[in-house]
């Protein structure tokens, strides 16, 4: 009965010829594309924070509020460390493309170290600043944004350590097989770029107002 309404004499039935394709069942590796798409999304979350920050700042009569000192020296050193680590990690990528596992391990280890220094530096900064998360609206923004970024640095660090761990297995990475290495690198660059924007908003922009 249900079928009664279905047309039976359509002029064309789907024409599907069969053709066996090479590599038909292999699942293509699209992780890099996935990561890039994901980072687009992530950057918009930071974008939301940045927008909120700028709106709060725009409405405030004094920014940062009275008595809230923004330290500059330590974060500047931290920035230099983080930005240069982006170049270091790239050396690791270059190395693996030349099949140089030792080079990969060396540069990734240096990057991990730099990342760790950055995190320690940030923790030190938190501990020595005279204000906490809930002190005032600037402090709210400051801790939330740097904290969120710090979390991302931490995740990036874990990715790098993961690559180092895996690279111990012989032949795990090679010049034609290093997607994991690339993904860690891409993520690290992303974390770096976000930091540059954050640094500009939180540290530099606060010097002139």
């Amino acid at each position: 009965m249900t079928d009664a309404t279905a047309p039976t004499g359509a002029a064309i039935a789907p024409q599907v010829t069969t053709e066996v394709q090479a590599n038909d069942h292999a699942h293509p590796d699209l992780r890099v594309w996935g990561l890039l798409t994901f980072l687009v999304s992530e950057s918009l979350m930071f974008g939301g924070f940045f927008a909120a920050y700028l709106m709060v700042r725009g409405a405030a009569s004094q920014w940062p509020p009275e008595g809230t000192e923004v330290e500059l020296l330590l974060p500047a050193i931290n920035t230099v460390i983080l930005v240069s680590s982006s170049f270091v990690i790239h050396l690791g990528d270059v190395a693996i493309k030349k099949n140089d596992i030792g080079g990969l391990r060396k540069w990734y280890a240096v990057t991990a170290l730099m990342g760790a220094v950055f995190l320690v530096g940030q923790a030190y900064e938190y501990a020595t600043l005279g204000y906490g998360l809930s002190s005032n609206i600037f402090a709210n923004c400051f801790y939330l944004m740097t904290g969120f970024h710090g979390l991302h640095v931490f995740i990036g660090l874990l990715l790098i350590l993961g690559v180092l761990w895996r690279s111990r297995r012989a032949g795990h990475y090679s010049d034609h097989k290093h997607t994991g290495v690339e993904m860690a690198e891409i993520y690290w660059h992303f974390v770096d770029i976000i930091w540059i924007v954050l640094f500009a908003l939180l540290y530099i922009l606060t010097q002139f107002s």
Binding site: T2, L30, R31, M55, S134
Partner: protein, 552 residues
């Protein structure tokens, strides 16, 4: 495509890429487990979201019972607010979005593009499994009073009422938001990279175009909502004051962050449905879709313009004059691409041989309901008029026409259309017709009078109202009961047909898109051998010569 250039790597960070050559069909209990088959995940999404629809609908019925009389007598006013908040939240975040994108998107996209699965099957399963805990959080929040600040949760109200429940609400939204982002990423990569080589862009089914557009929108707008909700969560629980005006915060920021997502969210809920319409109408009208390119591009246009209209929800809020006008104009522009779609579907009906299957009835019903809701939307876009009706039942009428008359009708149409593919069995057409008639009448009875209520002065989100509005409210309540009753024939039909309906052939509607070229239900991994596309998806009524000409 470029797939070949990407070196293979067995580090399985994101996806399980092991291949299972054994094609053993899934058992019923496989549907209750962590499973990475896109078809299983699609059905998991559909069934869970439908359960949430029933729960959300039950809340709506409770609200309508309260509103049958002007006094707050049926439920406590705080409970009423909790009901309306969770009704809105569940319907949007746990019914329409997961059913349309997660359910039909997952089930159909790989089949329509000739892929064996999504790009990241494991990620897909993870995305699904974020939904049930989100639902449990929402339901559990009722033990703490339930979130009571509306689905929009504007601070400061959301910061001072039922903080535990409100935090649970935020947790739930962040979970479904994450699910939505992961799903969107998966769709984008799948559609861009995994089409069978013979499927060129101009032969891509319009549903895929719609999901592509939807995913792009979800990808850029959802994280902004997440940002806003994280700020809200910190305000409630960790002593920050982003939205506390007396401590330097600014409540309007929340509204911008919220609507930057939530306006696009309404397109997240309608674009996949538009895609469904473009699939169903040609098949049952036996006509090629009219204006393929125009429909595909208008999805993208709606997406793009849809990102720049959010302030139309804030016309009476802290919105400066230039913004009110800018967003009036941008909102009105959305009518143009939407109109293109509507007119194209109507033109597709012209000269067809229309079969009024249940799927087609719902599709045609959708056209009528959505046009009315869309036109009332245009009146809302005009700031000087919206000032009068903002936050009244006129708004409630508008969005139920587009959401119920649009998204829900579309989902029903899709269920009737693809049920044979998913279950291998046909649904009963008679029961389907009864379901349609009851839903159509019920929806209009419930939501049409709301226009008048709002215009004459009844605000929304109230448990008590002026007695002059009693008669129309009774009518709405009656309509809601009718909608509840309309589910009986549907549920009987779905459950009965699933277990013992007549067996469906691979292609019961004689349709041309790829999903109909495989068995009903499709085997695990979809095809024995990958299909090769030789015709467009909508070439109904093409004569042999024309076909030859196209090929030549």
């Amino acid at each position: 495509m470029t797939q070949a250039q990407i070196p293979l790597d067995d580090t399985t960070l994101l996806s399980g890429q092991e291949h299972h050559p054994i094609h053993k069909p899934w058992k019923w209990y496989d549907y209750f487990t962590y499973n990475i088959d896109h078809k299983v995940i699609g059905i998991q999404y559909l069934v869970t979201s439908f359960v949430f629809y029933l729960i959300g609908g039950l809340m709506a019925v409770a609200m309508r019972m309260e509103l049958a009389t002007p006094d707050p007598d049926f439920v406590d006013p705080s409970l009423y607010n909790a009901l309306l908040t969770n009704h809105g939240t569940i319907m949007i975040f746990l019914w329409i979005v997961p059913a349309a994108i997660g359910g039909f998107g997952n089930y159909l996209i790989p089949l329509m593009i000739g892929a064996r699965d999504m790009a990241f099957p494991n990620l897909n399963a993870i995305a699904f499994w974020l939904n049930p805990p989100a639902g449990l959080l929402l339901l559990g929040s009722f033990f703490f009073g339930g979130a009571q600040a509306g689905w929009t949760s504007y601070p400061p109200l959301s910061e001072i009422t039922a903080p535990v429940a409100q935090s649970m609400w935020i947790g739930a939204i962040v979970l479904v938001g994450t699910s939505s982002i992961l799903g969107a990423l998966n769709f984008i990569v799948t559609i861009l990279m995994m089409r069978v080589p013979s499927l060129s862009w101009d032969r891509l089914p319009l549903f895929c175009w719609a999901i592509l557009a939807t995913s792009a929108l979800a990808l850029v707008s959802t994280p902004v909502l997440a940002a806003g909700l994280i700020l809200l969560l910190f305000d409630i629980n960790f002593g920050t004051s982003f939205f506390k005006p007396d401590e330097g915060g600014n409540i309007i920021i929340y509204q911008h962050l919220f609507w930057f997502y939530s306006h696009p969210a309404v397109y997240l809920m309608i674009l996949p449905i538009f895609g469904v319409m473009s699939e169903i109408i040609p098949v049952h009208a036996r006509k090629p879709i009219f204006g393929y390119k125009a429909i595909a591009y208008s999805s993208l246009a709606i997406c793009l313009v849809g990102l720049f209209v959010w302030v139309h929800h804030m016309f009476t809020s802290g919105t400066p004059p230039w913004m009110r006008l800018f967003f009036t104009i941008s909102t009105l522009i959305v009518a143009v691409p939407t109109g293109v779609k509507i007119f194209s579907w109507v033109a597709t009906l012209w000269g067809g041989k229309i079969r009024f299957t249940s799927a087609m009835l719902f599709a045609v019903g959708l056209l009528g309901m959505f046009v009315l809701g869309g036109l009332s939307g245009i009146t809302l876009g005009v700031a000087p008029f919206d000032i009068h009706v903002h936050d009244t039942y006129y708004i409630v009428a508008h969005f139920h026409y587009v959401l119920f008359g649009g998204s829900v009708f579309g989902l029903y149409a899709a269920i009737y259309h693809w049920f044979p593919k998913m279950t291998g069995r046909m649904m009963n057409e008679k029961l389907g017709q009864v379901h349609f008639v009851m839903t159509f009448i019920g929806a209009n009875l419930t939501f049409l009078p709301m226009h008048s209520l709002g215009m004459h002065g009844m605000p929304r989100r109230v448990a008590m109202y002026d007695p002059q509005f009693t008669a129309l409210n009774k009518l709405c309540t009656f309509g809601a009961f009718m909608l509840a009753a309309s589910l009986i024939p549907f549920l009987i039909n779905a459950i009965w047909s699933w277990s013992r309906g007549p067996k469906a052939s691979a292609n019961p509607w004689n349709a041309l898109t790829l999903e109909w070229t495989t068995a009903s239900p499709p085997i695990v991994e979809n095809w024995e051998v990958l299909p090769v596309v030789t015709t467009g998806p909508y070439e109904y009524g093409m004569s042999e010569e024309e076909a030859a000409a196209v090929e030549g």
